[in-house]
Amino acid sequence: MSKEITIMNFNNFTHCDAPFTDDKVFDGCGISAFINVDGKLENGARIANMVTCLQDRENGLGAGFAVYGCFPDRKDEYCFQIIAEDDTTKDKVKEFLQDKGTISYDEKIPVKSEMGLPRQPILWRYFFKPPSEVNEEAYDDYIVKLHMALNDSFQRKAFVMSAGKNCMALKGNGWSREIAEYYQLENYEGCMWLGHSRFPTNTPGSWFGAHPFSLLSWNVIHNGEITSYGTNRRYLEMFGYKCLLGTDTEVIAYLFDQLVRRHKIPVPIAALAFNPPLYDTIDKMPYEQQLTMKNIRMTYRSALLNGPFSIVVGSEINGKPAMIGLTDRKKLRPQLVAQSDDEKTYFISSEEASFERLRLAEDATHADISKVWASHAGVPFIARLGDGVVRTGMEKPFEGIQLSINEYPPELGT
């Protein structure tokens, strides 16, 4: 096999002048991600390779990346990155943030503006600390509120691109190769990278509507369409989340925040809420599992994610970045997992081509890949910094989990 890689260059017929719109966007996209569980930092060259080779999964209407561990010097500050329509709005955003806390440092996000991407917004980065009267435990909730308020306060002229600690998302309207070049990914280093290329089909793409969708340290990239969007959105709105970005993927980020951060539900259990086994399967489980599973489905009935999806969620729980891969329970969108020879790096991608691309690379992006597998439909793959693989994606529900029940419910009506 030739080692030369040729990226097919499709003409960009669909690169339209996308206005801000409030319609929901449906996606069919390419997703890739990797994590080095030893925490070794690397730049964005590899993720760019993984995503850009999935070019027929995108149509030039959006791409984006997320990186974890990129601001080691400011790791305790929230990095607000703003997409603003003009300078005036950007200044207002700064005033808004200054009013709500302290900006220790801010800068223009370095971009290659000479590339001439259409409708380039103002992109700005603020390192932010909540005011002293906010308890440290309440920081995250404070930032979520601020994030939502910011999205809601500028007549759709400014949106938060990301606002996490020691992590960020970089996204925009263009092909993935354009966006990678635009943000100069080679200048950032992280132990975990996510990359997304987009094929929105119902409405034009937009800068804020590109993936990843971020909230705190959650970054979600998504291929698919959430048919339960309305149900999920109405559930989340009860708890202060505002779905203003017009894309179904948004709800996934907020649902992870609601269940995993706020309700402190372990990720493998939360995955069962988003993607529960069928009742026929539940009925065959041992009693403890059956009871737990039914309670999960009942309590979080509005958090069930329906429709085809393949997602990668970047997270940071207790200071440890973790990469979560998940598909819908029918697996109507592809997702593969790969492991490097040294078992230190784990990759996820929509297609095996991404792994092959790394295998064939002769530069620093080269990876020796020892194992590739497809996780089971609806079963999470989780790899975490320091701990390696937490869930392989091949488990049955609750496999490997010692489950107990504190108090058994009475039999109904007895």
Partner: protein, 506 residues
């Protein structure tokens, strides 16, 4: 002699003399005293005919047809035939007019102005015959969150700490509405209770107590505590699927029940625990509930009495302020709340109330769901909606507007043979459904009725799955309150705003 009281019949029974075999089956079948045999031929007193169709259905020679009475009412857009008849009739009787079933006035049905979504290209639709599509729901209160303890030394050692409130597991998001023994017959009740037990869903008992013969089915029944407290004893409270405090009914908001003494037979007397032939009048309000605080006390008392093992709910009629009332009920501790829309049915109600009081269920669902969400308490409660859920399309739209479960009654009566003649309040039901006359009750074959009810619900559930499959949704919880999948295609776009749905094309 004055004849100013005279009005013309609505219907005319036409007997084809050539076909008629004079077997008099129609005479025996007629329960409204229309038909008689004079030795030579069948004659009809058209004045009494209600178009129950019993005679026509059972005529072995197919000799009977029923027609509109051929009289022309001089046309007038304001004083319609209906209005004129009401005024004539009340001039004769001086009384409050009674009626049954839901209102017969042609109010616009908002359900019919809503269209549904389906998947194309970007998302595969699902064929429910090939892939699982789930319609299971749970009736009862849900906690706002689940608490798990994770062992700090071993993250795989997980304990579920939440004590779960009682929930009844239902195979489909459908229940049969409350029709008491009294409003319908023993055989009709038996058919309904057997059917729901076999279907794995629930039925309402109505306010008429629970006959001992129905005890085997009571774990599939929601028994009703109404203002008359008829038949309420320990057996009525324990071992049931749910308990419901009935505040109101869609067909007669603000009204109690009325079962005339002549219908209080031995059976009804035993079941309701009232003297034979005494009027069973349930008061308009509960005389121990004059406020939301009082309701809270009764809910608490019932929870105590049943040791927190049974979901306790409250049923209200859909009235203008239904949303804040519902919110108060949830805060008073109800596990489920039933809302009955103004087109909902009745066995007997003052016609003026039935036809003019309340709001449509579509709007009530939307505003209650929205209100509970704005207060962050929607997930806690099961929202049951009824009052003119006519067929599966209404069920699907009601769920997408925000209901958990739909309550159905009239279609169940249709399944049992009802012809919709709207004479339930007379107690003369020729099909053995809304009557207490033993000779008529036995006309209703329980086994056949059970099968027909099961068929009907099975068909609706399949249609629900078909629509969900087309939407790319494989579990009914993802349809619930998913208003994005609805569009309004009707005459008044403001309704779309009230329902929280977009107009077609948006």
């Amino acid at each position: 002699m004055s004849l100013i009281h005279k009005t013309f019949p609505k219907f005319k029974v036409v007997v084809d003399r050539e076909k008629c075999k004079k077997c008099t089956r129609c005479v025996n079948g007629c329960t409204f005293g229309v038909l008689s045999f004079n030795g030579e031929r069948i004659i009809a007193d058209n004045e009494k005919c209600v178009d129950c169709q019993r005679c026509a259905v059972y005529c072995p020679a197919e000799a009977i047809t029923i027609e509109n009475y051929p009289i022309v009412y001089s046309p007038h857009g304001t004083y319609t035939e209906r209005i004129r008849k009401i005024d004539w009739f009340q001039s004769s009787t001086g009384g409050v007019l009674l009626a049954s079933t839901g209102t017969d006035l042609p109010y616009p049905v908002i359900f019919d102005d809503i269209v549904l979504d389906a998947c194309q290209v970007t998302n595969p639709s699902i064929d429910p015959l090939r892939e699982p599509v789930e319609t299971k729901v749970f009736l009862g209160s849900k906690p706002a969150k689940l608490d798990f303890d994770v062992d700090p030394d071993d993250e795989n050692n997980i304990t579920m700490r939440t004590r779960y409130p009682p929930n009844f597991e239902m195979s489909m998001p459908l229940m049969i509405g409350h029709m008491s023994l009294g409003s319908i017959s023993f055989n009709a009740c038996m058919s309904i209770y057997k059917a729901v037990s076999e279907l794995g869903i629930v039925a309402g008992s109505g306010e008429g107590g629970l006959n001992e013969a129905f005890y085997p089915y009571k774990n599939h029944l929601i028994t009703e505590i109404a203002s008359g407290r008829f038949g309420v004893d320990l057996n009525y409270l324990q071992g049931v699927a749910g308990l419901e405090i009935k505040i109101g009914q869609g067909a007669k908001p603000g009204h109690g029940g009325h079962l005339p003494g002549e219908k209080v037979t031995q059976l009804i007397s035993e079941t309701r625990m009232i003297p034979k032939f005494s009027d069973a009048l349930s008061p308009y309000p509960h005389h121990d509930i004059y406020s939301i605080e009082d309701l809270q006390q009764l809910i608490s008392a019932l929870k105590e009495a049943t040791r927190y093992k049974i979901p306790i709910g409250v049923k209200i009629a859909a009235v203008h302020n239904v949303a804040p009332i519902a919110s108060g009920i949830v805060r008073a501790g109800a596990d489920f709340i039933t809302i009955d829309g103004f087109r909902g049915g009745t066995g007997s109600a003052p016609r003026i109330i039935r036809d003019h009081v309340g709001i449509p269920i579509e709007v009530a669902i939307a505003s209650v769901d929205e209100r509970l969400r704005s207060e962050g308490i929607r997930e806690k409660v099961t929202l049951i909606a009824g009052g003119s859920i006519r067929y599966s399309a209404d069920l699907i739209k009601a769920i997408a507007l925000g209901a958990d479960i739909c309550m159905v009654a009239m279609p169940v009566l249709l399944a049992m043979g009802c012809r919709f003649c709207q004479q339930c309040h007379t107690g003369n039901c020729s099909w053995g459904i809304a009557t207490q006359r033993p000779d008529l009750v036995k006309r209703l074959d329980v086994d056949i009725s059970v099968q027909r009810i099961k068929n009907l619900f099975h068909a609706w559930n399949e249609e629900l799955k078909e629509i969900m499959g087309a939407m790319g949704i494989d579990s009914v919880e993802s349809l619930r309150s998913n208003r994005d999948r609805l569009r309004y295609l009707g005459p008044n776009p403001h309704i779309a705003d009230v329902l929280g749905i977009k107009h077609v094309g948006e």
